[in-house]
């Protein structure tokens, strides 16, 4: 019977993966769409395909995302389930307000909150949170901002006096390459989170031994979920990243994407997971600030930074609250089933209401 709960956890993890792709589409396509390097549907289609491929290319981050933050010995499938609900709730809330925020940190926050409520502080490694959440959250945007500012300054020095037409066409063409590389690197980095959480659930349920290889079906399902989410696209966040932080020209778009891909790939290679959202947002701000400081809408940037600060505590609160509700009905079996049925009914009602009012969840623009 525990397997029923396990499959609920796997389904919820894949739902999280879908929201991760949906939420993070903006990181890969916002600059390409904003500079008209690609039509929107082509951009999201290409990003989805490359995210799918990227998920198969590396499993390094899957091994590190859950370990070192929560003690696997205390983790049960119900804790993982409640943590995922916390992460999904935060992803949907930030999407609603058009705020780019880290799905990785939402996931970590959700699991930390549910583990804390279920097992107390002994299940959570404070040092792990510092190493894998706080330090990367400080490093990623600052590093991307500085590197992008340097790169765009040199770029403008080289091509600044050339005829705008050929330069614009050249950078739009370059964005096909940089956008593709960014999407591929996103797939190698972000799909691994869901793989990591499914593996954690499998290990806690006794279906897999700790340290075992990631099963192929886990890789395939995680790749499919993130690709589908990416294709659906979170257009509110695309609008924020593509045009509300700075008004972007193709040189800035190309540079932000290239720097983003370089930082993500470097971090991924070193097994030092950085948020693609933090990297890309920092890169876009750097591309704008190097032109002139007032080119960046700092009010929008401030709202985004506020969302980043709230990500861990808010998703932890929802994760903890969800676990408390799960525990009311029975943490081993009935709780996850009751809560998942309630959430499915809630989501269906919300979806039907939107359809009835003639709006879709992902309307472009």
């Amino acid at each position: 019977m525990d397997d029923v709960v396990l499959w609920i956890v796997v389904g919820t993890a894949l739902a999280f993966d879908f929201t991760n792709g949906f939420h993070d589409t903006a990181n890969a396509v916002a600059t390409s769409i904003s500079t008209r390097a690609m039509p929107p549907r082509l951009a999201v289609g290409l990003a989805a395909s490359l995210n799918f491929v990227g998920a198969f290319l590396s499993l390094a981050v899957a091994a590190t995302i859950a370990s070192g933050i929560v003690d696997a010995n205390y983790i049960t499938p119900s804790i993982v389930f409640a943590g995922l609900i916390g992460a999904i709730a935060w992803n949907l809330a930030t999407w609603y307000f058009g705020l780019p925020s880290s799905s990785s940190h939402a996931l970590i926050g959700g699991v930390v909150g549910s583990a804390f409520v279920a097992q107390g502080p002994k299940a959570v490694y404070g040092a792990g949170i510092v190493e894998k959440v706080i330090v990367p959250a400080l490093v990623a945007p600052v590093l991307a901002l500085i590197v992008c500012a340097l790169a765009i300054s040199l770029t403008y020095r080289i091509v600044g006096r050339r005829h705008p037409g050929p330069v614009t066409r050249g950078f739009r063409l370059g964005q096909l390459v940089s956008g593709s590389l960014f999407s591929l690197s996103h797939g190698t980095n972000d799909a691994q989170k869901t793989m990591g959480i499914i593996v954690l659930a499998l290990v806690s349920n006794g279906n897999l031994s700790e340290g075992a290889d990631v099963p192929t079906w886990v890789v395939l399902s995680a790749a499919t979920a993130i690709a589908l989410g990416t294709y659906v696209g979170g257009w509110r966040i695309i609008k924020t990243m593509g045009s509300r932080i700075i008004k972007m020209d193709p040189a800035q778009g190309f540079t932000a994407q290239t720097v983003g891909a370089c930082v993500i790939l470097s971090a991924s290679h070193a097994g030092f997971p950085l948020s693609t959202t933090h990297v890309m947002t920092g890169g876009i701000m750097g591309a704008g600030a190097a032109k002139r400081l007032s080119a960046v809408r700092w009010g929008v940037a401030g709202n985004i930074a506020g969302a980043w600060v709230l990500t861990l505590p808010a998703s932890a609160a929802v994760g903890g609250l969800t676990y408390a509700v799960v525990a009311l009905f029975g943490a081993h079996q009935a709780g996850p089933m009751v809560v998942s049925i309630l959430l499915l009914l809630l989501l269906t009602a919300a979806f039907v209401k939107r359809i009835a009012t003639g709006r879709t969840l992902t309307a472009e623009g």
Binding site: G54, L57, S58, A60, V61, A127, G128, V130, E131, V135, V139, L143, A144, V147, C148, L150, A151, I152, L154, T155, I158, V159, R162, H163, P166, V167, G170, F171, G174, V177, L181, L184, S185, T188, A251, F254, T255, T258, V259, A261, C262, V263, L265, S266, A267, S268, H269, A270, G271, F272, L274
Partner: protein, 79 residues
Amino acid sequence: MLAAIDFHALGRVVLASLVAGVGIPVLYSLAIFGVGKADEARRGGLNTAAAAYSALAIAALLVFGASVVLGVSVMLNKD
């Protein structure tokens, strides 16, 4: 708190990001610059200059292409 930070990995990330993140856009910019200048020189009848700028553009594009291949190979060979 400091003990929890992997400074070795962080240093590698910062260095690689700086080198690649600045280097690759600069290379691509040099390619665009070279193509534009070669076109101008060709139209002005300056064939030697046109050849030199074309060579610059081709070299920059080749290194740019190689860096993309290197990026993909990094994805395939993580620690």
